[in-house]
């Protein structure tokens, strides 16, 4: 494979990684948004404070992911986004609502605060459900028939549950005392729907897509491939077990969060393996959809310089706000 031919591959990987980082990072803050109604007034402020310094940067990964789709695979961008016109609109409205509700709630009159909190929850729910629906439609190659919407709807329900679990794990890490105890309970409650959802989706994906079926059940790949579901299962079970130990409230408060990140990473690897080399399953391969090598090279230079810098200051920002969440105050 020449360098020019490998360019689309590089950008596919980049896009995948941005989407993965997006799902994990905005996933926990969407999850925190979904948990809002379960917290009391003071706890709500802590919930918000725990994600306050990060959510902006988290959403930027979505812009980068969609940006790469737009820049590197323009044909796929048009195809995917026109297919998903309505869910995209709903997701954007959800993201807008929660993004601004978050900022408005502390600045508005006290009587309006509860309304903004409700909108924050509603926006988080709308955004995460639309994302699940979009993922479902995307995996199934936008197929038509009665089973496809059912499949998409199942993911639309499962993804918010996964975000709640991740958000609860984030809170276990970022909070103390009674709220932390609550977060552990929330995590335990969300664990079952996530497991059931993942099993159902894993079973139905090969049923919904012949291409995926073929990829999953061919020998000898299936043996190597089995590492993915196995590791995912181990991480999920370990996360559940650790939730029952007292140590999760102290030194190991970060462990469930890290284990869940592993679950997301392996889920992503499985997905990537199933889809490759398509950017739109059964319709467009990454080479068919890619921009000219000249344009891709120009962006690659920027990527090589910026991505390490982005990583560095993301780490910096997380270090600045390390430890338990405290009240946010504009300096």
């Amino acid at each position: 494979m020449t360098f020019d031919q490998s360019l689309p591959l590089i950008f596919m990987a980049l896009m995948g990684i941005s989407m993965l980082v997006y799902v994990i990072s905005d996933g926990y803050d969407l999850g925190v948004g979904l948990l809002m109604p379960r917290a009391n007034a003071t706890e709500k402020d802590v919930l918000i404070a725990s994600i306050g310094p990060f959510w902006d940067a988290n959403e930027t990964w979505l812009v980068l992911g969609i940006g790469i789709l737009l820049i590197a695979f323009p044909k796929a961008h048009g195809l995917v986004l026109t297919q998903l016109y309505l869910p995209v609109t709903l997701m954007l409205i959800g993201l807008m609502l929660r993004g601004v509700a978050f900022d408005f709630r502390v600045k508005a009159k006290d009587v309006h605060k509860a309304t903004w909190d409700r909108l924050f929850f509603a926006g988080s729910l709308l955004a995460s459900m639309s994302q699940g629906w979009m993922l479902g439609r995307y995996i199934s190659g936008f197929g038509s028939g009665w089973n496809y919407p059912v499949f998409a709807a199942a993911i639309a329900l499962a993804l918010p549950a996964a975000y709640v679990l991740l958000g609860a794990a984030w809170l276990i890490m970022k909070t103390e005392g009674e709220l932390q105890r609550k977060a552990i309970r929330w995590a335990k409650l969300a664990w079952w729907p996530v497991v059931v959802g993942m099993v159902l989706i894993s079973l139905s994906t090969p049923w919904i897509s012949a291409t995926v079926r073929q990829r999953w059940f061919e020998l000898p790949a299936i043996i190597a491939l089995s590492a993915i579901p196995l590791t995912t299962a181990i991480a999920l079970v370990a996360a559940r077990l650790v939730l029952d130990r007292p140590i999760v409230r102290k030194e190991l408060c970060w462990l469930p969060f890290v284990l869940l990140i592993a679950v997301f990473v392996f889920g992503f690897l499985g997905l990537a393996y199933s889809i490759y080399p398509f950017v739109v399953i059964d319709q467009l391969t990454i080479w068919q959809a890619a921009s000219s090598p000249a344009a891709l090279k120009v962006i690659l230079i920027g990527v090589c310089i910026s991505v390490p810098a982005i990583a560095a200051y993301t780490v910096f920002s997380y270090r600045v706000f390390w430890g338990k969440a405290t009240e946010l105050r504009y300096g």
Binding site: G67, L70, P74, L81, D103, G331
Partner: protein, 460 residues
């Protein structure tokens, strides 16, 4: 309804909403650094109060800018899939660099800038604030480069209907870019300056923030008074540049239907796009030719020279007059306001209530001028998306039913109106219950004492 019209209306709604917020944050980022710096220098709690108040405005505006910006990045695909397929080699890298260099920079450091006090040193905090301000400006650079290229394309070749870049320098620094970029940065400065002067005036009218509001008002009026003449000058240069590269845009702005020498300047008219003529003209003879060609008998090309390839005249004609009218008003108000403020030594109790009401009334004048200006620019490029080369109609989504576009348009517009109302009322509410002077907390007081002791020591 025609899906093309709906798609355009939806996109117009989105850019109109989106541009409101970068217009504030680009300049506000820099002015916040100035407030912070004044506080560090003077240890006057009023500057800290001003800083904190405007940081909140920044956070709110930034959040609205980010979320509406995300919408934009999706709509290229949902509404104009053909644009990226055909012009993606040019537009893609520009948008990519915007995200990579600017968007991440702002978003990454915003948390530290907003909430990092007490967690990082003052120097690191200044640096974070600088990166945020710099990021917003760099963001404007890339977006304006792309927008200018769409207006005055250069540095590319078209092979089989697809654009390929020959020279990135020519693409970036295309003929209209310097004017457009400067015009936008100045617009941001003016929007922010009038917002500052306006909200401070409102606070003074309500008897609030009597120590910090005059300081902010003085900054706002000074910035406005300095920038508005520069803006008018740059705007004129920008107009001449447009005349050279997009004469039909000028023809529509001026309501010139037939090419003529010694064209009059229309103070008022109602251009009629169907009848291809103007009604109710009030004109100054030969003035348009004089202004545009610096010759009273200079030739101005009319819309008749561009059959099927010129923008609608009426929206451009009115939008342009709104922008210019607002500019003239800004010039008057900022100069008179500055002079009156200076005459009373910026003492709030001596500022005339009339002036305060005018300033408060003009809080959002920058928005009006900016949006009107963007309409001139964007509608003026029609019927092309890339001027002269690619028609908007040829890149619109063909597979999306118009009912779906209409539905999402309705949802967006409802949300946008609600958010604008919320934004303005929260700004008003915050202005009415500000912290006026912030007592330095323990650490800062200790620093203050040390500085005072030092000053005392050197005095004796």
């Amino acid at each position: 309804m025609d899906p093309l019209i709906l798609a355009r209306a939806q996109f117009a709604a989105n850019i109109t909403f989106h541009i409101l917020f970068p217009t504030i944050t680009i300049a506000l980022g820099w002015l916040l650094m100035f407030f912070r710096w004044r506080w560090l220098r003077t240890h006057d709690g009023a500057w800290l109060a001003a800083y904190r108040f405007w940081t909140k405005v920044f956070a709110l505006s930034f959040a609205l800018g980010v979320v509406s910006g995300i919408t934009m990045s999706f709509q290229f695909g949902t509404n104009w899939p053909g644009f990226m397929e055909k012009a993606g080699n040019v537009a893609g890298p520009l948008l990519g660099y915007e995200v990579l260099t600017a968007f991440f920079l702002e978003a990454g450091f915003l948390g530290v800038m907003l909430f990092g006090h007490g967690r990082v040193s003052e120097r690191i905090h200044m640096m974070a604030s600088f990166f945020v301000a710099f990021g917003t400006t760099v963001s404007a650079f890339w977006i304006l480069a792309l927008n200018s290229w769409m207006q005055t394309p250069a540095g590319h070749e078209v092979i089989d209907g697809v654009f390929h870049v020959k020279s990135w320098a020519e693409v970036l620094f295309n003929p209209s870019f310097p004017y457009r970029f400067t015009h936008m940065l100045l617009a941001s400065g003016l929007t922010c300056a009038f917002l500052m002067a306006g909200l401070s005036a409102w606070q003074l009218l309500r008897g609030q923030a009597e120590r910090s509001a005059p300081k902010v008002m003085r900054v706002g009026l000074t910035v406005a008074a300095l920038l508005i003449p520069v803006q008018i000058f740059v705007g004129d240069l920008h107009g001449l540049n447009t005349l050279k590269h997009q004469p039909q845009k000028i023809a529509a702005m001026e309501g010139v239907w037939e090419t003529e020498r010694g064209a009059p300047l229309l103070l008022f008219a109602v251009p009629d796009d169907k009848a291809r003529t103007n009604h109710f003209e009030i004109a100054i003879p030969k003035m348009a030719s004089l202004v545009l060609t610096h010759d009273a008998d200079g030739e101005i090309k009319g819309l008749n020279d561009f059959p099927d390839a010129h923008p609608p005249a009426a929206p451009l004609f009115f939008a342009f007059r709104v922008m210019v009218g607002m500019g003239v008003l800004m010039l008057l108000v900022s100069w008179v306001g500055w002079w009156m403020g200076r005459r009373v030594g910026w003492a709030p109790q001596r500022l005339s209530r009339g002036l305060l009401w005018v300033l408060a009334g003009m809080s959002f004048s920058g928005w009006v001028a900016t949006v009107a200006g963007w309409y001139v620019t964007e509608i003026g490029r029609q019927p092309f998306i890339v001027y002269g080369l690619l028609r908007t109609a040829d890149v619109a989504a063909t597979t999306v039913p118009s009912s779906m576009i209409a539905l999402s348009l309705a949802m967006y517009v409802t949300l946008y109106l609600a958010l604008i109302v919320a934004y303005v009322s929260v700004l008003k509410y915050m202005a009415e219950k500000p912290e006026d002077v912030i007592e330095p907390d323990a650490l800062e007081r200790a620093e203050g004492r040390a500085a005072a002791a030092l000053a005392k020591g050197s005095a004796t």
